[in-house]
Amino acid sequence: MADMSSQPRKWLAPALCGLIVVLAPLLGGGYPNFINMAILVGIYYSVCIGLSLIFGIGGQLSLAQAAFYGIGGYTSALLSVKLGVPVLIAMLAAGIVSGIAAWILATPILRLRTVYLAMATLAFGEIFVTIVRENRELTGGSTGIVNLPAPAIGSFVFDTPFRYYFLVWALALAATWIARNIIRSRIGLGLRALADSELGASSCGVDVARYKSWMFTIGAVFAGIGGALYVHYLSFISPDSFSVQFSILMIMILAIGGRDSLLGAFLGAVIVTILPFILSGYEAYGPLIFGIFFIASVRFMPSGIAGVLRNLMELGKPIDGAATQKVTEP
C-alpha cells in the first residue's frame, strides 16, 4: 500500500532477498542442475514481472510477450555478433528496442477489448516468428545463430554458470525493485483502479490509454532484456524459443503463481522450471500437467498460489471496523 512507510522495515525485505540470492548457490550447489535452473528461474521471473504489470495489475491479456522477448534476444545477438557491440550494452539496447516496438504497437492495439486484444497480440507474435524465419541472411532463419559471445565487464567475463547466475539475479532484483516501486506508487494504484473500474479510474484523472501504454512498454523492456540474457546464456538463438506457445506459457506461469504479485511471478517461474525435474523420466508429461494445473488455477485459485498464501496470512489478522449498516431500498 502506498501509505505504508515504516522506515527500518522498508529495507528488510530487499536486504533479505539479496541475502537469499547470494547464499542460494552455496546451499543448493550440491544439486547437479541447481545453478542452471536458478538462472532460468531468474530469467523467466524477470520477464514475468513485466507481464504481471501488463496482465496481473493492468488487466490486459497480452499474448505478445514472447515476441518482445524475441525482439530483445535478436537485437542483442545481432548487435554483439555482427557489429561487435559489447554484450552488456547490447542487452541494454535489447531492452530499449523492445520498448520502442511496444510503444509503437501500444496505442492502436491497447484500445481493443479483451478478446480482440488477446487475438491481436497472438497474431503479432506469430507474424514476428514468421519474419524471423524468413529472413535467413539477417537472423539465421530457423537454424538460428550460434556462438553468441558472453557478457563481460572489462576482462571479467560472465562465462561460467556461477558468474552468469549473479548477473541474471542482479538484474532480476533490479527489476523487482522497479516493479515494486511502480506498484506501490499512485501509478500502481491507478493501474489497479483501471482494472477494477475503467469508468471510475478515468473520472479520477487516470489517463487510461497512457497508463496501459506505459505498462505495456515497461513489460516489453523487461522481456527484451530477459530475452537477451537467455540467448547469451545458451550462446545460441533460434526462433523456437520465441513462439506464441511461450507467450501462453508465461500467462500460465502468472495464473498459477499469482498474477497480481511479484511473489506470484517468482513462484510460477519456480514451478515451471522444476516441474521437468520433479517428473524425471516423465518430462514429456510436463506440458500436459502444467496445462491442467493452469485450468485448475483459473477455476479455483484466481489469485494463484501467492493469493492463497496471502489469504492464509490474513486469516490470522483480527477484523477491524464492522461494516454492517443496513441498506434500505429507495
Binding site: 502506498a2 501509505d3 506508487s185 489497479r192 477494477d196 484523472g205 461494516a323 449498516q325 443496513k326 429507495p330
Partner: protein, 255 residues
C-alpha cells in the same frame, strides 16, 4: 458562472435523449437537475463530465470550451463526479480509493515512481495522509483500511465522494447520490453537501429525492423528455404547473 451548457443535445439513432438544453450553474451553489425517469438528466451530466460526446451543443467551464474532453481531462480541469452506481475500486481499500482521486495533483511521473525518488516518495505520503483526513471528514475514517468490496453501500458512496474531493475540484457532479441510502444516511449526506458548499465548492446534482433537493438546492433545473422545461428556486419550481404536470403520478415518497 462556473459551468454552462449551450444547446446541448444527444441523439441515439432515432431517439433524442437530450434536446437543446442550455443552462448555467453559478459558482458556490448547489444546483439540482431533476425530472421524471428518462428525462435525460444522467445523459446531460455525462456530456458535461466527458463520458458522452454531445451530438450538438457546447459545454463551457468558466469561458473555456470543454466540449468533448475525456473524463480524465475534465478531472484535470477540476471537475469531479460520482456515479449512480458507485464506481469504487473493489479490490482496494477505502484509503487507496481516495488516493487514486489525487492522481491529477502532484507529479504522477513514471520515472519518479519507478526509481522511488525521495521527493516523489514524500509527496506520495502527503497524499496518503490527506486521503485519510478526507475519509475522516466524511465520517468513515475508521474504515479507511477496509476493502471497498466489503463495506456497506452507503460507505461506498461516501468513499466515492471522498475520492472526488481528493482531486481538489471546483465543481462536483453527483448522479443520484441519495439513491440507496437510508433516512439517516440521507440526512448525513445533506449535512455534508451544505458543508462542502460553505467551503466554496460548487455542486451539480441529479436527484429524485425531493425533500433532499428542496432543503439543499439553491437552484433547480427541470428536464422532461430531454428538454428543459423550468428553472428557478425550490419554491418557484414547487409551484410551477409545468413541473407538476411532468411529475403527475410520479410523486416521490419522502424517504
Amino acid at each position: 458562472m462556473i459551468v454552462r451548457t449551450e444547446r446541448l443535445s444527444r441523439r441515439y439513432g432515432g431517439v433524442t435523449a437530450v434536446d437543446d438544453v442550455s443552462f448555467a450553474v453559478e459558482r458556490g451553489t448547489i444546483t439540482a437537475l431533476i425530472g421524471p425517469n428518462g428525462a435525460g438528466k444522467t445523459t446531460t451530466l455525462n456530456m458535461i463530465s466527458g463520458m458522452t460526446r454531445p451530438s450538438a451543443g457546447r459545454v463551457f467551464l468558466s469561458d473555456t470550451d470543454v466540449t468533448g474532453l475525456r473524463p480524465d481531462e475534465m478531472c484535470r480541469h477540476k471537475v469531479a463526479r460520482t456515479f449512480q452506481m458507485p464506481q469504487t475500486f473493489g479490490s482496494m481499500t477505502l484509503c487507496e480509493n481516495v488516493i487514486v482521486g489525487s492522481t491529477t495533483r502532484g507529479d504522477s511521473g513514471l520515472v519518479g515512481a519507478a526509481l522511488s525518488l525521495p521527493r516523489f516518495r514524500s509527496r506520495e505520503e502527503e497524499f496518503a495522509v490527506e486521503a485519510r483526513a478526507l475519509l475522516v471528514s466524511l465520517g468513515i475514517g475508521h474504515l479507511a483500511d477496509m476493502r471497498t468490496s466489503s463495506v456497506s453501500f452507503g460507505t461506498m458512496r461516501l468513499t466515492e465522494l471522498a475520492r472526488a474531493l481528493a482531486s481538489h475540484p471546483v465543481l462536483v457532479l453527483m448522479d443520484e447520490p441519495a439513491s440507496g441510502l437510508s433516512r439517516a444516511e440521507t440526512q448525513a449526506l445533506r449535512t455534508i453537501l451544505l458543508r462542502l458548499k460553505s467551503e466554496g465548492l460548487t455542486i451539480l446534482l441529479v436527484e429524485h429525492n425531493m425533500p433532499l433537493i428542496m432543503s439543499t438546492a439553491d437552484h433547480i433545473h427541470v428536464l422532461d423528455k430531454g428538454r428543459l422545461i423550468a428553472g428557478g428556486s425550490p419554491q418557484e419550481i414547487q409551484a410551477n404547473p409545468l413541473v407538476q404536470q411532468a411529475y403527475l403520478g410520479l410523486v416521490e415518497e419522502p424517504s
